[in-house]
C-alpha cells in the first residue's frame, strides 16, 4: 500500500487558480437585492428614537420587530441579539438592515437615518466577570506556604484579526416557506440551527450551503450565524433574493477577533524547583459572551504548556466590556496561554540563574504523566526528538552563544507547544455527536456526505485520499461537493483541529464498511456516528479528566535581528518540527505549517490592533499590518510520524498547532536580541524602545 502522506495535486487547484471557483460574492445567478447594516456608533447607549426617512419603492427596513422567533443568535448562551432593540453594547452593533436594489440609494437612505441615543458610561476595564472557571491539581496551597521564593509575572496579549482575504458574506433566497442561505462559513449546521431558531420554524424550512470559502481561521465559525439570521429575517419579510457582503472596513470593525488577555503566573520555588504554580487568565470577551467561555477553558487547560507541574491552581475569567465581541480564532485561547507559560518558564530560569533550556527539559511532559486536568498523556510523546531536530536544523546552541553579547541585537528563541486535538472535554460526545455518510451510487461513484468545509486547509483532498486509499478506487470516482444541509448529515463544525481526526476517522470507518457491502450496480449507503472511547472521562464542572483525546506537539525556533536605530524586527529564519500523528498529505500539512506559523509570528511582533473608547482604531489593511512576502523568511519544517491509534492512518490535529508557538518563539528571540524580558505581545518597536529606555527588566 502506498504511503498516504505522499502529496498529490489538490483537487480544487484548477478551479481556484483559474478564478472559476465560486465564492459568495461571485453569485450573479439571479437578481439579488443588497443589504446594508445600520450600526451603533456608541459603545453603550439606549436607543431613544429612530427617525427613518420614507423609503422609495422596492426598499425595505428590517429590524428586531420583524423577527419571528426569539431575538438571539443561537450559539451557546442566549445573550447576543440579532438586531439591537432598546440598547446597544458596542460600536458597530447591528440595529437594522436597509435592503434594496441600488447600493448608492441604500447609502443615501442610511445617511438620512437619525438615531437618538441616550449615551451611557461604557465599561472597558476587566471588572465584570461573565464567566469564571477554577480548577486545581495536587496541593498548590501547600506549595505556596512552604517556599524559598515566589516568582510572579504578568503577561498580556493584544487583539488579533483573522484577516481572511475574502470578507464575510452571505446570500439568501426564499421559495415558499423555505429559506436557502449560501455563505462563506465554517459550520453549516451552526448556521442552520441559528436560522431555525430565529425564524421559529422547522428544520425542513432551512437549507444552508457553503460557498467556496476565501479563508476563515475561526472568523467564520460563529460570526456568520449572525448575518445568516439577519438575512433570513429579511428574506421572510421581503420574499426576494438578497446579498449581504461586507467590505473590508466593516469586516474588521465588527467581526470577532482573538481575545486580548492578561495572564498572571506565579511559581512557588523550593530548592530551585517549581513546587507549585498559580495561573490566572483574564480574557476580554467584548459585549457578548458567544464562544468566550470555551476559548477560556482551552486557555486554562493549556496553563502548564508542555510541562508536567504537580501542584497547580488555575483561575480564569471572561470579562464583559463594551467592545466588539471576541470569538474563535485559530488556536482558541491557546496562543495567549502558551505565550505566557513559555515566557514564564524562561523567566523563572533566568531569575534562578539556571540554563533555561535545561530548566525546561526538566519539566517536559512524558507519556503516562498527568495532564493539567489530571487526565493522562496516553500516547507516546516525542518532544525530545522534536526539540533535538529543531535545534540541529537551526544551529540553536551555537546561535544562542553567538548572540549573547548585548550589542549584537540578534536573537534566537525556541518555543515548545502542544495542542489538544478536537473539542474540549466531552464536547464531541455531548454537544456534537458527529454523523457521516458515504453513498456509492449505481454508477460506482462514491459520495462523501459530511458537513466539513474546505476553507483552504485541503479537506476535500485529504478526505478523498482517505476514501480512495481504503476503497482502492481512483480519486476521480469520489465526489465531495461543498456541504449542503439538505444532503449531508451534521458531522459537526469545521473547527478545533477535529476535522481529519474525528470526521476523517468516521469517514475511514464508513469506507471500510462500504468496502464490505459494495454491490456492483446498486446504491449502497453507509452511516457512521461518533462514539467516545470508553476510557475518556471528563468532569466538566471541576475540570478533571481527559480534556482531549489526543495532543499534537511542536517546536518552533525563530531567529531575529532588531534594528539598533528603529527597533524594527527582521525575521531571519524559522525552523519547526511537528508531531501531527501522521500527515494525510505532507504538502498540505507543510502548507498549514507555513501559513499557521506566519500568523503566529504576526501575533507575536507585527499585528497591532487597539480600540479607543470602544472604536477599533485599525480598520483596514493599511493600518492593520499583516506579514507580506518580504516580511517572511524561508521556513524549514520537519514532520515526525507518531501515529495516533484512533485517527485515520494515525492522523491527529494540525491546523492550529503551527500558530500557537509563533508568538513565544519570536518574543524569546527578541528578548535575547534586546536583552530585556518580554511580557507583552505584539513586541512592537515602541514597546522595545520603552523597555530599553526605562531599563525595565
Amino acid at each position: 500500500m502506498k504511503d498516504i502522506s505522499k502529496s498529490i495535486n489538490k483537487v480544487d487547484n484548477e478551479e481556484k487558480i483559474s478564478g472559476k471557483a465560486k465564492y459568495v460574492s461571485d453569485y450573479y445567478d439571479v437578481d439579488y437585492l443588497y443589504a446594508k447594516t445600520v450600526r451603533s456608533i456608541h459603545p453603550k447607549a439606549i436607543i431613544k428614537h429612530i427617525d427613518k426617512p420614507d423609503l422609495p419603492e422596492g426598499y425595505y427596513y428590517v429590524d428586531y420587530r420583524d423577527i419571528p422567533g426569539k431575538n438571539f443568535v443561537k450559539i451557546i448562551f442566549e445573550d447576543m441579539p440579532v438586531f439591537a432593540e432598546k440598547e446597544v453594547n458596542y460600536v458597530g452593533e447591528p440595529i437594522m438592515l436597509i435592503v434594496g436594489k441600488d447600493k448608492e440609494v441604500i447609502q443615501d437612505i442610511e445617511r438620512n437615518i437619525k438615531i437618538d441615543y441616550e449615551v451611557l458610561t461604557p465599561v472597558f476595564a476587566y471588572k465584570d466577570s461573565a464567566v469564571h472557571y477554577h480548577f486545581h491539581k495536587g496541593d498548590a496551597k501547600q506549595a505556596f506556604r512552604d517556599y524559598d521564593q515566589i516568582i510572579k509575572y504578568d503577561y498580556d496579549t493584544g487583539y488579533q484579526e483573522q484577516l481572511y482575504i475574502e470578507p464575510q458574506g452571505m446570500l439568501g433566497t426564499i421559495d415558499g416557506d423555505k429559506v436557502t442561505l449560501i455563505g462563506s462559513i465554517q459550520c453549516p449546521y451552526y448556521v442552520k440551527n441559528a436560522v431555525i431558531s430565529i425564524l421559529d420554524t422547522s428544520e425542513n424550512n432551512v437549507r444552508v450551503k457553503q460557498a467556496t470559502v476565501g479563508g476563515a481561521f475561526g472568523g467564520k465559525e460563529e460570526f456568520p450565524s449572525l448575518t445568516a439570521c439577519q438575512l433570513a429575517v429579511a428574506l421572510k419579510k421581503i420574499n426576494k433574493p438578497i446579498k449581504l457582503i461586507y467590505d473590508r472596513e466593516e469586516d474588521i470593525e465588527v467581526t470577532t477577533k482573538r481575545h486580548p488577555s492578561k495572564i498572571t503566573l506565579q511559581a512557588a520555588i523550593k530548592n530551585q524547583k517549581i513546587a507549585g504554580l498559580r495561573c490566572h487568565v483574564r480574557l476580554d470577551g467584548g459585549a457578548y459572551i458567544g464562544l468566550s467561555g470555551v476559548v477560556l477553558s482551552r486557555a486554562l487547560i493549556a496553563s502548564t504548556g508542555v510541562y508536567t507541574i504537580d501542584h497547580l491552581e488555575v483561575n480564569g475569567d471572561v470579562y464583559s466590556t463594551n467592545t466588539v465581541p471576541n470569538g474563535a480564532f485559530r488556536g482558541f485561547g491557546a496562543p495567549q496561554m502558551l505565550f505566557a507559560i513559555e515566557m514564564f518558564m524562561n523567566h523563572i530560569a533566568k531569575d534562578l540563574k539556571i540554563d533555561p533550556l535545561a530548566f525546561r527539559f526538566e519539566y517536559l511532559a512524558k507519556q503516562h504523566d498527568q495532564t493539567s486536568t489530571q487526565g493522562t498523556f496516553r500516547d507516546p510523546i516525542m518532544m525530545t526528538e522534536l526539540i533535538h531536530k529543531a535545534m540541529e536544523m537551526s544551529s540553536y546552541i551555537e546561535k544562542v552563544k553567538a548572540y549573547q553579547d548585548e550589542n549584537i541585537y540578534k536573537g534566537i528563541g525556541m518555543s515548545f507547544v502542544l495542542h489538544g486535538c478536537g473539542f474540549t472535554g466531552s464536547g464531541e460526545a455531548t454537544h456534537i455527536n458527529a454523523k457521516v455518510k458515504l453513498k456509492k451510487d449505481d454508477q460506482e461513484k462514491v459520495h462523501i456526505l459530511i458537513a466539513a468545509v474546505d476553507m483552504g486547509q485541503g479537506v476535500k483532498t485529504t478526505m478523498k485520499k482517505i476514501v480512495a486509499q481504503i476503497l482502492e478506487i481512483p480519486l476521480d470516482d469520489i465526489v465531495f461537493n461543498h456541504p449542503d444541509t439538505d444532503f449531508v448529515p451534521d458531522s459537526g463544525p469545521t473547527v478545533a483541529s477535529r476535522t481529519i481526526m474525528i470526521v476523517g476517522g468516521l469517514v475511514a470507518r464508513a469506507a471500510l464498511s462500504l468496502k464490505k457491502q459494495w454491490t456492483i450496480g446498486e446504491e449502497v449507503v453507509v452511516d457512521e456516528h461518533y462514539q467516545q472511547p470508553e476510557y475518556i472521562k471528563w468532569d466538566e464542572e471541576h475540570f478533571i479528566g481527559d480534556a482531549y483525546p489526543a495532543y499534537s506537539w511542536g517546536v518552533n525556533v525563530v531567529e531575529v535581528e532588531v534594528s539598533k536605530v528603529t527597533y524594527e524586527v527582521t525575521i531571519v529564519g524559522s525552523w519547526s518540527t511537528y508531531d501531527v500523528g501522521k500527515a494525510i498529505d505532507e504538502r498540505i500539512i507543510l502548507g498549514q505549517a507555513d501559513g499557521g506559523h506566519l500568523q503566529g509570528l504576526g501575533f507575536g511582533y507585527l499585528e497591532v490592533m487597539n480600540h479607543k473608547n470602544g472604536h477599533i482604531e485599525q480598520k483596514n489593511v493599511t493600518d492593520y499590518i499583516i506579514p507580506t512576502s518580504v516580511d517572511t523568511p524561508m521556513m524549514e519544517t520537519v514532520l515526525i510520524d507518531n501515529p495516533y491509534p484512533l485517527g485515520p492512518y494515525g492522523a491527529k490535529g494540525a491546523g492550529e498547532l503551527p500558530l500557537v508557538g509563533g508568538a513565544p518563539a519570536v518574543a524569546l528571540a527578541i528578548e535575547q536580541a534586546i536583552n530585556h524580558k518580554v511580557h507583552s505581545v505584539p513586541v512592537t518597536p515602541e514597546k522595545m524602545m520603552e523597555m530599553i529606555l526605562n531599563g525595565k527588566n
Partner: protein, 157 residues
C-alpha cells in the same frame, strides 16, 4: 455616463458608464469577470489585480475612465495563455494554493513579474508579490512556484 471603449481579454468592449466607477465593479458586476476579487477596496491586498497595458494594477483603484482605449487582461483572459499553464502547474506542484481567494491576483502578479524579469531571484520574487496579501500559505510555496515556473517556462517570458 459616457461611452467607454477598451479591450478586455483581446475583445473590444464598449459600455455606457460613469467614468468614475471603479474598474473592479464594472469588471465584476457588468462583465462577470468574477475571478477578479475584492479583498480590501483600497489597493492594498492585490486580490483585484489585472493587467492594464501589460502592467499590474489593482482594479479597485482604477476609475473606469482611465482604461479608455487601453487593454485589460483579467484571470479569465490570462488562463487561455501558455504562460498561465506553466504557472498553474507550478502553483499546483508547490502547494501554493489554499483558500484560493488571493490566487488569481497572485497569478497576475506572477505574470507581471516574469514579464519584466524572466529569471528572478528569491528576493526579487518576494518584492514582486509584496503587493499581494495571502493569509493562508505564508508565501513560501508561492515563491517556490514562481521560481519553478521561471525555470520550466524557459523562453516563454
Amino acid at each position: 455616463m459616457a461611452k467607454i471603449e477598451f479591450t478586455l481579454n483581446n475583445k473590444i468592449i464598449s459600455i455606457d458608464e460613469h467614468p468614475n466607477r471603479r474598474l473592479l465593479d464594472v469588471l465584476r458586476d457588468q462583465l462577470l469577470q468574477t475571478g477578479v476579487k475584492e479583498g480590501c477596496g483600497e489597493g492594498e491586498c492585490g486580490a483585484c489585480a489585472v493587467l492594464l497595458n501589460g502592467e499590474i494594477v489593482n482594479s479597485c483603484m482604477v476609475p473606469l475612465g482611465n482604461v479608455l482605449h487601453k487593454e485589460i487582461i483579467t484571470i479569465e483572459g490570462y488562463r487561455e495563455t501558455k504562460q498561465y499553464q506553466v504557472l498553474k502547474e507550478a502553483y499546483s506542484i508547490e502547494g501554493a494554493v489554499q483558500c484560493g481567494f488571493c490566487t488569481p491576483g497572485m497569478m497576475i502578479a506572477s505574470e507581471a513579474l516574469l514579464r519584466k524579469n524572466p529569471h528572478p531571484s528569491d528576493k526579487e520574487i518576494r518584492d514582486g508579490i509584496s503587493g499581494n496579501l495571502c493569509r493562508c500559505t505564508g508565501y513560501n510555496m508561492i515563491i517556490k512556484a514562481i521560481k519553478r515556473a521561471s525555470e520550466e517556462g524557459e523562453g516563454l517570458w
